[in-house]
């Protein structure tokens, strides 16, 4: 019994770490621009699929991953420059719809150039799994957790210690005041989209050896990441991490103890409950509208 519980917990935490990274991407862009970027999932797809394609072209795994991350980062910047920035006078709902359009466009491009097949990435370590307390722990799960922790710590340092990180925070808190301090807010927004795309792509690469990747994996992973961000309260990074882990665990326990048929329904039941009872999420600000 206990070994079963461990098993579900391992897979829940692994999934949760992925959702947390996607949710952090949502949070970053939301804070900087108040836009909910529904193309966030496509960055995961570009990370995973880009790596697959580069591997097939003969690049070694680390180089293929690096190339895919770069591609996703560029996609993030281009998304901002070509789709969001030109519409800066539009209201936020319009911008959100633009991101949905962009996600369909990116998915279409991937389908056209990279095909519709599902691919598996090789795992990062030679050993497939180790046994812990009677449960099987995939080595790839350790990679996922390790990389997620490193990224979270790096982000925390970036925002708390660096001048640029603080400039992003300042822009998200008060754009006009940031401009009056001499911060180029356009550059800051571009940067936020780029970093957010990178985060998503890293999540897409590290999860690909466990869950497979294809041109359309971004839809589900993106939506679940959004749910994780909403659980935590959009805009809160702590909330994004907690929301991601909560979501991953509840999915894993539902799949294990009830039925894996209901696994994908969990996030949507949770988000309904959150929207009814806690519209600001667990860590969200209580203010209705930030001015």
């Amino acid at each position: 019994m206990l070994s079963e519980f461990f098993q579900f917990t391992f897979s829940g935490v692994t999934l949760g770490a992925i959702y947390a990274l996607v949710a952090l991407g949502f949070t970053l862009i939301y804070n900087a621009s108040h836009v909910i970027n529904f193309a966030q999932g496509e960055f995961l797809m570009i990370g995973g699929m880009g790596t697959v394609v580069l591997l097939e072209a003969g690049a070694p795994l680390p180089l293929a991953m690096l190339g895919a991350l770069l591609l996703a980062g560029v996609a993030g910047v281009v998304l901002y420059k070509l789709a969001i920035a030109p519409a800066k006078k539009a209201n936020v709902v319009t911008l959100i719809i633009i991101t949905i359009g962009a996600s369909i466009f990116l998915r279409g491009l991937a389908q056209f150039f990279w095909g519709k097949q599902y691919h598996a990435l090789p795992r990062f370590s030679a050993t497939e799994s180790i046994s812990v307390g009677g449960a099987t722990l995939l080595t790839q799960s350790l990679w996922v957790l390790g990389i997620a922790v490193v990224l979270v710590v790096a982000l925390a340092l970036f925002f708390n210690r660096s001048r640029l990180g603080k400039a992003i925070l300042a822009t998200s808190m008060n754009k006009d005041a940031a401009r009056l301090a001499g911060i180029k807010t356009q550059t800051i927004l571009t940067l936020a989209f780029g970093i957010s795309a990178l985060l998503g792509a890293v999540a897409g690469v590290i999860v690909a050896p466990i869950t497979f990747t294809a041109y359309d994996v971004g839809i589900m992973l993106g939506l679940k990441g959004f749910v994780a961000a909403a659980i935590g309260g959009l805009g809160s990074s702590t909330g994004a991490i907690v929301g991601g882990l909560l979501l991953g665990l509840s999915e894993a326990y539902t799949a294990g103890y009830i039925s894996s048929d209901y696994k994908d329904a969990v996030p949507f039941v949770i988000i309904l409950a959150i929207l009814f009872f806690l519209p600001n999420g667990l860590f969200g600000s209580r203010a209705v509208e930030r001015v």
Binding site: A170, N174, L180, A181, G182, I183
Partner: protein, 248 residues
């Protein structure tokens, strides 16, 4: 411009800021109609006027947040193609209306962000100490989020943040807004100090009495046009200005 001949007074020093024919609109509504205004180097100039006269809009135009037609020259250079960030780097720094501190960041981070356009680390540290001397309360609270400060303390923080940019022209938008009389006195005492230090000041106020008392010259703005200008004391003594802005 209406004939305001008795008050007409030009700066004795070379122009630091020179506006001519400044017109701007929000959508179809024109808020400033061909404004003419000069601020000489080292001067303290007040702009008074009622709510909605366009005072804050004018400051937003000068800072580059609000696009406008007409000519804007700073230290002899045309600013038409200079964005907000570059204007700060050149020394046009604004303390915006309502303080607008970065509420979630610490007091010290707020001050340091004021020096965002500067690279001279050592001098930035020295300037930080200077602000702490000027506003000792900010030093006591330097690790706290700016949002936890009182209104007066936030005003001091906003001024400190602006001073961290080493302004040549400091724009103050309603520094007394929403503050208790005692705090207003403190704030204007600091404005007086800055004037002594030789910083060129442009103070926008509804509180005309305080602003004109500290100013060398003043302008009166009414629904987007300058209707009177002159030496601070002359404007204060002027009957129509008194009637309109000083409550009799």
């Amino acid at each position: 411009m209406t004939s305001a001949a008795p008050f007409n007074a030009l700066p004795d020093t070379p122009n630091l800021l020179e506006l001519s024919g400044i017109t701007t609109a929000y959508g179809r509504i024109e808020v400033l109609h061909g404004l003419e205004l000069r601020i000489g180097a080292g001067e303290t100039v007040a702009l008074v006027g009622a709510n909605g006269a366009g005072k804050s809009t004018l400051l937003r135009v000068i800072s580059g947040l609000q696009p406008a037609s007409g000519a804007l020259r700073f230290d002899g250079a045309d600013l038409a193609r200079t964005d907000a960030a570059e204007r700060v780097r050149r020394g046009i720094v604004q303390v915006p209306e309502g303080r607008q501190v970065f509420t979630g960041l610490s007091v010290e981070d707020n001050l340091l962000l004021g020096a965002y356009t500067r690279r001279d680390k050592k001098a930035i540290q020295q300037d930080l100490e200077k602000q702490y001397q000027r506003f000792p309360i900010l030093k006591d609270k330097r690790r706290l989020p700016a949002g936890t400060l009182s209104g007066g303390q936030q005003q001091m923080l906003a001024m400190g943040r602006a001073l961290m940019a080493r302004p040549r022209l400091l724009l103050l938008d309603e520094p007394s807004m929403g503050l208790a009389p005692l705090i207003i006195e403190q704030i204007f005492a600091i404005v007086g100090e800055l004037k002594q230090e030789g910083i060129t000041l442009f103070v926008v106020e509804q509180n005309a009495a305080e602003a004109l008392a500290v100013a060398d010259r003043g302008y009166v703005l009414e629904t987007g046009s300058i209707v009177a200008e002159g030496h601070g004391q002359a404007l204060l003594d002027n009957d129509s200005v008194k009637a309109a802005y000083l409550g009799g």
